[in-house]
């Protein structure tokens, strides 16, 4: 029964390697927890919605403060003018805004008096996610009908913000997929260095008068070239599959580039901590996959509970996902995404500095 002997040996190899065992058990567990928290459970999404009350009657005020503000799935903020609301919508701070036109209160009053009302609301929505927009539309429609005590649909004139191009599902999905592709640079970066470490080649290099930052830069630079090529290919493929880039393509490239630097920096940290590919590989995936989920690569962050969103926002990739979507879908300019770019760059710098510090420690033997 040689196969049983071999099986026993392999089993021992696994359970006597704490890291491998932790990976086998913790990885699926972590994923189940993340996905469970992210898209499961009973929590419902909350969308930021702006309201511009041009009617300014008692009834329109009640509609805003007593109806819309009480809808659990809406987080309502009021605006004084359409321009500032549009700006917030463009920057992704709100997903839609409701313009209550003059005469709204009078039409609602007609309904209360059993007359035929002609209730009109103007809804401007963020078209980047059609499913989210239609949910907001339905919610507001239901709210106004309940408030006005009418059973027929009210007129909600809709308009969307990014009028330059028609938004497709690809426009929403592709920016996330590109970030996921860049997250794969974490294991790629770590593998490159750890392979040399394991083979002993690193020891040979370490006997040369080379500084830690030179080692990290030398390994990273090759990967930066790969990252640049990867981003170009991803963008080209995205466009080929129907992604419309409304904003500046170079700005989108910049966001992806700094996100790529983050991945490489994290990979260098893992490489400095790992002794072998067997250690580095699972550790990298343990970092990259949960980050993909937390960052809204596959699902919008809005549908996740608050604490998951907060957790995701600690890391650079959620900022990269939202900034790239803002540029590609809404045509956001540098000013709108600059804080995200600074945050991601700071993360990349931090990761590289940590990698160099760990490498310096390693060089001291």
């Amino acid at each position: 029964m040689k196969f049983l002997t071999l099986a026993a040996r392999n089993f021992k190899e696994i359970y006597r390697d704490p890291l491998a065992l932790a990976f086998l058990l913790a990885f699926p567990l972590l994923f189940m927890l993340l996905f469970g928290f992210a898209v499961g459970g009973t929590s419902s999404p909350v969308y930021n919605v702006g309201v511009l009350d041009r009617d300014e009657t008692e009834l329109s005020g009640r509609f805003v403060n007593e109806v819309l503000a009480e809808v659990p799935s809406l987080n309502v903020s009021t605006f004084e003018d359409a321009e500032s609301a549009a700006e917030k919508l463009k920057n992704g701070n709100i997903r839609a805004f409701v313009n209550i036109p003059e005469g709204f209160g009078g039409e609602v009053l007609k309904s209360y008096q059993n007359q035929s009302p002609d209730i009109v609301l103007n809804l401007t929505y963020d078209e980047s996610d059609v499913s989210v927009s239609s949910q907001i539309y339905s919610t507001i429609d239901a709210a106004v009908r309940e408030f006005a005590e009418v059973h027929i649909p009210v007129t909600i004139n809709t308009s969307h913000l990014s009028v330059e191009a028609e938004v497709t599902q690809m426009d929403f999905v592709a920016p996330g997929i590109i970030i996921f592709g860049l997250l794969i640079l974490v294991p790629t970066s770590a593998r490159l260095m750890v392979k040399d470490k394991e083979a002993g080649y690193m020891s040979r290099l370490l006997t040369t008068p080379t500084r830690p930052w030179e080692f990290i830069s030398g390994y990273s630079l090759a990967l930066v070239v790969i990252a640049i090529v990867q981003i170009i290919i991803f963008i080209m493929l995205g466009v080929a599959f129907g992604m419309n880039i409304v904003g500046n393509i170079f700005l989108a490239f910049l966001v992806y580039f700094v996100a790529g630097l983050c991945s490489i920096g994290i990979g260098m940290v893992v490489a400095a901590l790992s002794k072998s590919e067997n250690q580095a590989e699972p550790l990298c995936w343990l970092i990259a996959m949960p980050l993909a989920v937390l960052s809204g690569v596959w699902f919008p962050q809005e549908i996740m509970p608050d604490f998951i969103q907060v957790l995701g926002d600690i890391f650079p990739f959620s900022h990269a996902v939202s900034a790239s979507r803002m540029i590609i879908i809404r045509g956001a300019d540098f000013g709108a995404v600059s804080s995200s770019i600074i945050f991601i760059t700071a993360w990349a710098a931090g990761a590289f500095m940590l990698g160099i510090a760990l490498f310096r420690h390693k060089m001291k033997g």
Binding site: G200, Y201, S203, R204, T207, T208, P209, R211, K364, G365
Partner: protein, 318 residues
């Protein structure tokens, strides 16, 4: 790490000088209070079995591993305090033939030269020269992953020489090579004698005997004996061996020989009699008297292997 300085005087003229150098891994003492002096231009061999502390010693001297005790000077520079400067003066060929497998010999050599601060033009010239010296010119542009073990070893040694270092560390340079390739590498290393200071580790007796100016026998992290091959063999010079090749060595004749002399080894038609103050004529006459027909007989020179056996009390298994 506690600062420890041995009472030995530092001698800046030495290429390598260790001061109670030691390294522990947890409770395991890999190298224990090592004190050796290697003169400039000398080829010094550390001879010992696997796990005796040879590679750990080299790794400390190359600033890859921090000593847990003591220190060492390489070309007068302290390995603990001046590691970066030490690295500019040394070259190493590690035990594992670690090369960039997808690069050519020229590319591998140029890389090491550039990392050793050599300017590009000079690096190209040195690389081309070394490729020729090592007999790799015909494969100079091939990827090294297709090379034989011997070629890789030669390239590995070339990489340790590319920066024109003052001190070269060769860790088991002929490990795993066939006798022919090993002999060829000995010639390459032999040619460096006098030009470079070389610290070579090996567990091949004949390698140390053939190449080294001086040999340090290392056992369980300690230097058990130190000297030239002749000096070490002198340890066993009072112990002689008479080797007799004979026909007609019957069971009765062998029993008679073994009964007369305390240390007798029989190997086919060869009888070796070992001991102190042996009388060559008396032994050959006695063997002849047992009915054996002697073809040849001679006194065997003491070997490094016998010296090693006497010094460490164990055989060195290659």
């Amino acid at each position: 790490m506690p600062e420890h300085r041995s009472s030995r005087e530092a001698d800046k003229s030495l290429a390598v000088q260790t001061f109670d150098l030691g390294r522990s891994f947890g409770s395991l003492i890999a190298v224990d209070c090592l004190n050796i002096d290697i003169k400039q231009g000398e080829l010094f061999a550390l001879l010992g079995p696997n796990g005796s502390g040879k590679t750990t010693t080299i790794n400390m001297l190359c600033c890859l591993l921090k000593p847990t005790r003591g220190t060492a000077n390489v070309m007068g520079l302290d390995i603990n305090r001046e590691a970066h400067s030490v690295k500019a003066l040394i070259g190493i060929s590690p035990q594992d033939t670690t090369l960039s497998e997808h690069l050519s010999p020229l590319e591998n050599l140029e890389l090491m030269a550039r990392l050793n601060n050599m300017e590009a033009k000079k690096a190209r010239k040195y690389s081309a020269d070394l490729v020729e010296v090592m007999g790799l010119q015909e494969r100079a542009k091939d990827q090294v992953r297709r090379f034989s073990g011997g070629m890789k070893r030669r390239l590995s040694i070339a990489m340790s020489l590319i920066s024109d270092p003052a001190v070269v560390f060769l860790d088991e340079p002929t490990l795993g090579l066939d006798p022919q390739a090993r002999r060829a590498l000995w010639d390459y290393i032999g040619n460096l004698k006098g030009e470079k200071t070389i610290l070579l580790t090996t567990h091949y007796m004949e390698e140390a005997d053939y190449l080294a100016d001086r040999i340090g026998i290392i056992d369980a992290g300690k230097i058990a004996a130190l000297g030239t091959a002749m000096e070490l063999k002198a340890e066993v010079v009072d112990r002689q061996t008479v080797v007799i090749n004979a026909w007609n060595l019957t069971v009765a004749s062998l029993d008679a020989i073994k009964g007369r002399y305390p240390e007798v080894k029989v190997n086919g038609g060869q009888v070796s009699v070992a001991g102190k103050d042996l009388d060559f004529k008396e032994i050959t006459d006695f063997v002849h008297s047992t009915g054996a027909i002697i073809r040849s007989a001679y006194f065997k020179e003491p070997s490094l292997e016998e010296a090693y056996l006497k010094i460490t009390g164990k055989e060195l298994v290659a």
